[in-house]
Subunit: 291 residues, 2 copies
């Protein structure tokens, strides 16, 4: 089964488990709407790639970890789109959850998806309760306070922002979760995998800045030029397109160099390169002098 | 150590773990504000009472379970108070989180507390990973979809409400979590403890209806007469004060009768009666004819 098929099968099973005869139908429908069809599923793909590089000896646990991570990511998109944050009407080319349903249902959708993420891990844990608890711990640490995506989003409410803590938490945290959870699901120590996740997160941030600056709303499936609009720091504003591309290449080299020694090291390096190419918007490379 | 001291000590330790040098200070402060000083801590008190009735052989795990449950309850209060739900300015006698901080910080406070709840369980799990995973599963099932408090809140967005599913999920779920998690933390089968939790939840709902109808804002520490205002079903509107009191007594007798056979059965029955007396507003009994 391809990585993508593994992810979609596991995500669909998790969503089915959130439905029931006694459940409010609209909230059930909003959960499905928020999670499918998905975006690039880049975080769970990285997670499974790391798990496979580490032997993937408990595939059900890896699938649960990938699903849990994607559910947290989807929850964060639903809440971030709400009027009190980005007030975005569009997400993945369709109305955002609070526009398609309502603000109360968007709030509950995010909450329910966060809870479902941990439930998915708990359900898979008979396959290895110690690994299961480690996965809960890793996911929680990269989601909540003091160092997860909630903390990252919280920095936007501060009068003085700690930029490096902001980026590390807001974008980096779930990539670090991806590499660490992939290793932990396969029974490896998660700590040596943190740097790969952090560097992929940095690369993703720069690629996102390039897309935000160079793409239009139709290409993105969400509003563009949001960084300018909200006065958020952006690598393109700071370095120009060529400078941002050059930084991206540096970060990727560092990411690949950081991969801990393991059986699937070469395949994992290939995956990182391939993903990076997909992330860079068409037109960015051709603006770099000499290329 | 008294139950109350156990709970406050464990809750305070959990909150400390959510702070850090890299964390946004306002969000950190909002987490503390949402959780302390607490209300009656009734759900964790029930949880620890059940754990003790079952032997409480892993007190660190029981404390973690009690803390996790209280954090979820506090998260639900923060989100329920927000403008898109009850739009409450007051909670536990002080401004609600979105009034004291902001709407973005209230949303993130709820999210962070949900995550922290599961993190607390994961951290305590080396004390018993199988029990830890069972606690994650039980808490998630009573928090999210399809049968937890998110589902209960979700019913309020439906054009046609399933009243019994609504009450079971909205108020009952966290009481069922309390009794089941107390048993599971002490290594007992959680299933036989569900009925006690469900009946305590029903009793709490009737007592809450009595308080909403009979108390003023100063006594409640939150807005009163909310059921009338929002057209929500209410036992006092349906049965009158005397009828509601009589139903409460019936439910409590059923609750006590449902307690599974265990070493601490009598003490637990006493705790249920004592809590029920505290819940009933002064003046409710004296309106019952013949008393």
């Amino acid at each position: 089964m391809s990585l993508n098929a593994r992810i979609e099968t596991a995500v669909a099973a998790a969503l089915r488990s959130a439905h029931g005869a006694d459940a409010p139908p609209q909230l059930g429908s909003a959960l499905d709407y928020a999670v499918t069809p998905g975006g690039a599923r880049i975080r769970p793909t990285i997670l499974l790639s790391v798990a496979m590089a580490c032997g993937d000896d408990r595939p059900a646990l890896s699938n649960a970890a990938a699903t849990a991570l994607e559910l947290i990511h989807c929850a964060s998109l639903v809440h971030d789109d709400m009027p009190c944050f980005d007030d975005s009407d569009l997400r993945r080319g369709k109305p955002s959850v609070h526009r398609a349903y309502s603000e109360p249902l968007a709030l509950l959708t995010g909450d329910s998806l966060i809870v479902l993420a941990f439930e998915v891990l708990a359900r898979a844990a008979p396959d290895g309760p110690l690994r299961g608890m480690e996965l809960v711990r890793l996911l929680a640490a990269r989601t909540g306070m003091p160092g997860g995506i909630c903390a990252g989003q919280g920095w936007e409410s501060e009068p003085r922002i700690d930029l490096s803590a902001y980026h590390r938490a807001k974008t980096g945290a779930l990539f670090i979760a991806a590499t660490q959870m992939g290793a932990a699901a396969a029974g490896q120590e998660p700590e040596p995998w943190a740097e790969l996740g952090a560097r992929i997160g940095e690369a993703f941030q720069v690629a996102d800045d390039l897309r935000d600056a160079l793409c239009d709303e139709g290409q993105l499936g969400k509003p563009c030029h949001q960084d300018d609009l909200h006065g958020r720091p952006n690598a393109v504003a700071e370095l120009g397109v060529a400078g941002a591309m050059s930084r991206l290449d540096d970060i990727l080299s560092g990411a690949i160099a950081s991969i801990p020694s393991c059986a699937g090291e070469a395949a994992l390096a290939g995956m990182v390169r391939a993903y990076a190419d997909r992330l860079v918007p068409q037109g960015a490379r051709r603006t770099v002098p000499g290329e």
